[in-house]
Symmetry: C2
Subunit: 117 residues, 2 copies
């Protein structure tokens, strides 16, 4: 609901390398918990909890497939994060005039939940 609290959750979720790796994995397609956990050395419950963090941040969605609870990417909140970071594009050292256009499109496309911090 609160945009700032949402950004808290999104950035906090992205701060963990395991969770970023999970998101990269999900960019290739949805996957079950065991499929997601396979490449990591941590336990399955630990992965389940990472998935819960990602879900609370709105970065993934869960589904139902027999016993499985596949996770799939839901990247809109990444756009919100980029949107916040875009405030600082003038400080990135390069010329990002075009980015303004892109962000304008983004705001239009996201006209669903407008307000942002």
């Amino acid at each position: 609901m609160n945009a700032s609290a949402n950004l808290d959750a999104v950035f906090a979720a992205l701060a963990d390398p395991t969770r970023r790796a999970i998101l990269s994995r999900l960019a290739e397609g949805q996957a079950s918990v065991n499929e997601i956990a396979a490449p990591f050395e941590i336990s399955q419950p630990a992965v389940s909890r990472h998935l819960k963090v990602l879900e609370r941040a709105g970065l993934i969605e869960r589904g139902v497939d027999e016993q499985r609870r596949p996770a799939r990417l839901k990247a809109e909140n990444m756009a919100a994060a980029v949107d916040w970071l875009a405030e600082f594009r003038a400080f990135w050292g390069a010329s990002f005039d075009q980015l303004d256009d892109v962000l304008a499109q983004m705001k239009q496309a996201e006209a669903k939940d407008a307000g942002h911090d």
Copy 2:
């Protein structure tokens, strides 16, 4: 040094609303610790520690001005964060074909430290 560890620090730093507000403040120009602390209800030591977190994440630099240690924005690592997030632009729901061009420019502009993740 390590790009992934760097992203850990950057995203973790961005996960706190006080720190995001500090960065927004610094986008208007460098400021001393007391100037930065003024709008907040937390103590000065707390602000000093937030600044240390931002500095370790490479998001600010400190200067010297008599007794003051002014902080100023250093946004390159924000670009690194956006760069990572850009992997997922295809999932943002809109068409961001132009973003590819922007990112290409970004990579060129950042030809200083190339490797990411």
